[in-house]
């Protein structure tokens, strides 16, 4: 296993990838043309990929094929070397435990408390009977409290999820995914319905999780600026195919125009990107990565996860 710090991009080819997608194709019944077509890439531990592309490009379909919420039409997906495609239901469940997912909406059961929602992340590891009865391990509960406290949700343990703000709800969703002790985290437009301040908190948390706990993250984003600022690597999708795959710093205007099939002037993205002050953004991105954790969130999560793995 690579050290936790080894988050940097290793391009298309990496040794021992945590996720490998090979010639993935998805054609929906009744859909015109494939939603995802011949997509291949692989990912290293702790890598953060931002997926950008216009609505309908196939970003969600790609993520949902990876944990088989959607059954791929063709191609292969390997999670830590194990093939997900074609696996029987029991194996799929075993693999899903290692893949956390954060959705844009409806992440949580609104009526249940934050603790109840977060503990759902453990259901995949429990016997059916224990799951039905909700008999969670005390050690797991303790870990949940720790991670929630480290993410600034310590005073909301017994609040109903429905009472939280959008940003808090997304953080709870991320903590539930962390309770799965995943090696991959899939985020489908996690900040699409958040105000800019909450969006930043959520993206910071995802990046911390990714880099400090060496969890590979794929984040679908509408906001090109956010993708540039937070990702080690960008995948640009257009009509089901990958049209760009490379370091964020290499995403040129011409590529953005290709991804969105529009001249850059007609795209509402940060002026920095449009106006050629891209170096500044790039610097900001790097300083963002090196920045020390504000309140020990990162180390705390890492420790919490390590404890969980030992116990």
């Amino acid at each position: 296993m690579l050290p936790a710090g080894a988050w940097w991009s290793c391009g298309r080819i990496c040794l021992n990838p945590v996720l490998e997608v090979r010639n993935l194709k998805k054609v929906y019944r009744g859909g015109e043309g494939p939603a995802v077509d011949n997509v291949s890439f692989s990912m290293a531990r702790g890598e953060m990929i931002g997926v950008i592309g216009p609505s309908g490009a196939g970003k969600s379909t790609l993520l949902r094929c990876i944990n088989r919420l959607v059954t791929p039409t063709a191609g292969h997906i390997f999670i830590e070397g194990e093939e997900m495609t074609g696996a029987p239901a029991v194996r799929v469940r075993g693999l899903r435990r290692r893949v956390g997912m954060v959705f844009q909406h409806h992440n949580l059961v609104a009526r249940l408390t934050v603790m109840q929602n977060v503990m759902h992340g453990r259901l995949g590891y429990m016997s059916t009977l224990d799951g039905i009865l909700g008999r969670y391990q005390e050690a797991d509960k303790k870990q949940a409290v720790e991670i929630l406290t480290q993410t600034g949700l310590g005073s909301f343990l017994y609040h109903r999820a429905g009472e939280l703000s959008g940003g808090q709800r997304q953080r709870v969703g991320i903590v539930r995914a962390l309770m799965q002790q995943p090696s991959i985290l899939l985020c489908d437009e996690p900040i699409a319905s958040l105000d800019p301040a909450s969006a930043q908190v959520v993206m910071d948390l995802i990046r911390d999780v990714c880099h400090r706990s060496a969890i590979a993250c794929i984040v679908n984003l509408h906001q090109v600026d956010a993708a540039l600022r937070y990702s080690d690597r960008i995948i640009g999708m257009y009509r089901g195919g990958i049209v760009f795959d490379g370091p964020a710093a290499e995403l040129k205007e011409s590529v953005i125009e290709k991804i969105y099939n529009k001249p850059i002037k007609q795209l509402m993205i940060g002026d920095g990107i449009k106006g050629g002050i891209r170096d500044e953004i790039r610097e900001g991105m790097h300083s963002g990565i090196r920045e020390e954790p504000h309140d020990g969130i990162r180390d705390g999560i890492k420790e919490g996860l390590r404890d969980g793995q030992n116990g």
Partner: protein, 267 residues
């Protein structure tokens, strides 16, 4: 601008306004014709009012009751009937609805089967069930409970399926994505999310059942309806009016109570 002056600006297209007009006209014609065929004459009803009020004033007023104990016992019987049948109906409906919600039970065809069965239970009026059951079990509370349980099961199954479907649609996928299997997901996420809906529907069927059980009693299903029918047959209108008032009081207080409970549960 000058051209617009003499024609007003419309907010909807001519076709949609015409369609609305035709629809309303047809509705009024159907209503008038139907009323005509019943032979119901509003004037006659107005003229006959005197007789009606006379009957009420002379025979029904003042309410008088000497057998309070019998009245109370019958009322309690009706209340028990309504609650017991709502409870049993809810348990049966939950099992049926779990099987009949396509998102939860993927066995093909079972959803239509359950829906069809529930629709039969629901669409045969409970009065008809009561007639059939009286023939089998004789007069008594058991008939009322059975008839109401059957119709409650039919209704609640349909409402529970809707509630479960909505709860599953919103809450199931994120949990399945964690690698959990179906039974824990249903128990830990779908049912808790559906619970307020369930309780609201059960309270609603308690209300319905109280009203229905009064009528069912009149065909022999026990409770307050049976008592009321007895008084009417004996021309004991004073006692009958007391019984009717008692029914009104019970129905209204149960409604107030369930409204209260609903508010507590839904917030």
């Amino acid at each position: 601008m000058g051209k617009m002056d003499n024609s007003r600006i419309k907010l909807a297209s001519r076709e949609s306004r015409r369609a609305a007009f035709v629809f309303l006209t047809v509705l009024v014609i159907v209503f008038v014709l139907s009323t005509g065929f019943t032979g119901f004459n509003p004037l006659e009803a107005l003229l006959a009012q005197g007789e009606f009020w006379n009957f009420i004033a002379v025979d029904f007023i003042p309410p008088y009751m000497d057998k309070w104990e019998a009245l109370l016992r019958a009322l309690m019987q009706t209340l028990y009937m309504a609650i017991a049948s709502a409870g049993m109906g809810a348990v049966l409906a939950l099992s049926l609805a779990l099987a009949g919600t396509p998102a939860l039970c993927r066995v093909p065809g079972i959803s239509s089967l359950v829906r069809g069965f529930a629709s039969v239970l629901r669409n045969i009026p409970d009065l008809v069930w009561a007639f059939i059951l009286v023939a089998a079990f004789g007069i008594g509370t058991i008939v009322g409970v059975l008839a109401l349980t059957i119709s409650t099961t039919g209704q609640l199954t349909r409402f529970f399926i809707e509630t479960l479907d909505e709860a599953a649609g919103e809450n199931m996928e994120p949990l399945l994505a964690t690698g959990a299997s179906m039974p824990p997901v249903v128990l830990q996420a779908v049912l808790p999310a559906a619970l307020p809906g369930f309780v609201a529907w059960i309270l609603y069927s308690v209300e319905l059942n109280i009203r229905s059980s009064t009528i069912l009693g009149m065909v022999g299903a026990g409770g307050i309806g049976l008592l009321l029918m007895g008084y009417i047959k004996q021309y004991n209108y004073a006692a009958a009016s007391t019984t009717i008032i008692a029914v009104g009081v019970i129905v209204i207080s149960v409604n107030l109570l369930t409204d209260c409970l609903r508010k507590i549960i839904l917030t």
